[in-house]
């Protein structure tokens, strides 16, 4: 069977890979958006924190015998706490300055963290075995669907939509949205905004760590895994619109699929297509597809 002269196996195979990549893009850009919205900081450590999530899973298994399911819980907590420490001790001092300072600080943190891990573990990658319950796959007739990949897509979607729901539809989310607009006034109503900022940063970082655990069985655990993906994720955040929650989710999954389709129809462009789209979006809508002019 073929579509536009392309075998369906190849077409759906690439679309699936696109969706998987999209699941990671969405989780990572969602965390960046949540952080940027409230803290006004472009969190360049995000890739390093994603990598740390994968390493927590690796350590938990090697040192404590704790498997994948434990790591899904542990890694976001551990890396989230590290993130909150960075926020309390360093980022907090930069809020009254330009965005650029936060970007430089978090970029510096990322270089230090990645340098330490590369020094300790090299750059060849460590294997992380898939949990037994998620091995194997389904034959859908038109393609083979590995269980783990289906799990990543579904889990990421659930986490993304859950986050969207909490921010857009709950009381807690209304504090967050209000504090994004006018933190001083929200604090003057009696809300502890500094604590909310710390927890929000912790949450955004925890999302990155969660993505890291999801990635560990697919991409191996590698000190450079974060810096490989983060540039694409930043492009996606720019396309979706800085700070837009639904924008990050939709653009994350959408661009993953566009990237997959490009691999089928014009493989030469598959590494650049996202950046081309970014340039076009910036020309036509500088605030991003879902962004609000500020």
């Amino acid at each position: 069977m073929t579509v536009f002269g392309i075998p369906t196996q190849a077409l759906f195979g690439q679309l699936l890979i696109g969706l998987i990549n999209g699941a990671f893009y969405a989780l990572l850009s969602l965390g960046l958006s949540v952080i940027f919205g409230l803290l006004n900081i472009i969190n360049f450590s995000h890739g390093a924190q994603y990598m740390m999530g994968a390493f927590v899973a690796y350590f938990a298994l090697q040192w404590a015998g704790l498997g994948y399911w434990w790591s899904l819980l542990l890694a976001p907590i551990v890396v989230g706490l590290i993130g909150m420490t960075i926020e309390r001790t360093m980022l907090k001092r930069l809020y009254h300055l330009d965005h650029l300072y936060g970007l430089l600080l978090t970029f510096g943190c990322a270089l230090v963290i990645e340098g330490v891990f590369r020094h300790e573990f090299g750059s060849s990658g460590l294997p992380y075995t898939m949990p037994a319950a998620l091995t194997g796959g389904y034959n859908l007739g038109f393609m083979f669907l590995p269980t783990y990949r289906a799990w990543v897509i579904v889990f990421s979607l659930v986490v993304c939509l859950g986050t969207w729901y909490v921010i857009e539809q709950t009381k807690l989310g209304s504090y967050l949205r209000a504090a994004t607009e006018n933190p001083a006034l929200v604090q003057a109503f009696g809300i502890n905004v500094p604590r909310m900022i710390t927890l929000t940063y912790g949450f955004g970082v925890a999302l990155a760590a969660l993505a890291g655990v999801l990635a560990a069985p697919i991409y191996q655990v590698n000190p450079l895994m974060g810096s490989n993906i983060i540039i694409v994720v930043f492009a996606i955040v720019v396309i979706g619109g800085m700070g837009s929650i639904m924008g990050s989710i939709v653009t994350g999954f959408g661009l993953g699929m566009i990237e997959g389709l490009t691999k089928v129809f014009y493989p030469e462009a598959s590494n650049t297509v996202i950046f081309v789209i970014m340039a076009l979006v910036l020309l036509v809508r500088p605030t991003g597809l879902f962004g609000r002019a500020s």
Binding site: A184, L185, Q187, F189, I191
Partner: protein
Amino acid sequence: MPPDGPLLEVRDLHAWYGESHILHGLEFDVHAGEVVTLLGRNGAGKTTTLKSIMGIVTRRQGSIRFEGRELIDRPSNRIARLGIAFCPEERGIFASLDVEENLVLPPVVRSGGLPLATIYDLFPNLRERLSSQGTKLSGGEQQMLAIGRILRTGARLLLLDEPTEGLAPVIVQQIGATIRRLKAERFTIVLVEQNFRFAATVADRHYVVEHGRVVDMIPNDALDASKDRLHEYLGV
């Protein structure tokens, strides 16, 4: 708190916005159940006074006591929790929240706030627009929302910054009626106003602020007799 001491006692208050020194030793008192206005020209420091009480200026010094407790070193969220609420001049309605979310945003800090039903009685327009985006309301409705949302928190001291600014006369009357109703319910109110004709219809006493200091206090019943003095202060 001593039984007949003032509810709010401001002494030698200095405040800064960034580098500019706005308040220079401002002092005044407000007793429980009073409506007091701060009158003065633009830039005299009236808004800064309210923001200093609320703890949202860059730096402040001196003493602000509420129910006998010192506020000067507390962050604004802890000040709010003691039962003080602020309605800013620019109203501070959140665009990413609908009217209902705006209305219930400030957490209840004490018992004794007005129930939502009473707030809808005071401002019937709000009830009909609950699911509209907060900033889609008219200016008058936004002002009602900004006042309404601080009435349910249980705060007993309300700081209102120019609630009538730029509003149609019929809405100014509605806000005046609301302030008198709140006074009857034993709320204590500090009101910043440019419109002293409006202030005269609601307040017990008027403090005149000039160059970051209180330079005079005029009881409302002496307002007519002090008209010339006041005109000189306000330059009207």
